[in-house]
Amino acid sequence: VSAFADLVGALPLAALTVPLEWVIGLGLALFCVGLLGVACRRNILIMLLSVEIMLNAANVVLVGFSRLHGDLSGQVFVFFSMTVAAAEVAVGLAIVIALYRLRRSADADDAADLRDVDYGPMPHLKLEGEPAAHHDDDHGHDDDAAEPEVAVAGGTQ
């Protein structure tokens, strides 16, 4: 605590002298948290969030080394990295939404089979005018009887 007090007291207040070990440690901890989140969680949204945590770990280390080298380009690169992360999460969330509409689940294990599992004909592909009537169940009561009634059992098997 006294070392921390000395450190706080010795702050020049213009340039905060955070040692690089702390920066690298923070980046490493953030990256490990993100990696654990990707590896252990099965929810796709949490996995996307963990990917973002890993990207931010890289950003922290970039800023730290930018200060180390006295170069501004690292911090500029962090801005571009944030932009790429935003684009990535936009497309990722769109994929999650499309996958949820297809599988009715945000679990990664339900999307383990990307080969063409025979779910039958798509039960709810209504045109835009009709209200989407697929809230409760996937029975899709079609008017023409030629199309087989499909009950999509959620998930595999």
């Binding site: 070990e21 571009f80 497309v91 989407a132």
Partner: protein
């Protein structure tokens, strides 16, 4: 924190927002423009992927 691995080597970089802006819109202007194209592509991809009537 004394005599760490990188201690003492940290440059006294006094960065202002003005310098960062000058760097982005000066040296890295091409990357900035490419970033705009990337964001446009991301928006289009997200909209197309989340369109309900896809096929």
């Amino acid at each position: 924190m004394d005599a760490g691995l990188f201690a003492g080597a940290v440059a006294d970089l006094d960065v202002s927002a003005e310098q960062i802006g000058a760097a982005i819109f000066g040296k890295w202007l091409l990357a900035f423009e490419v970033t705009s194209l990337l964001l446009l592509g991301a928006i289009l991809g997200a909209v197309i992927l989340t369109k309900r009537r896809l096929t």
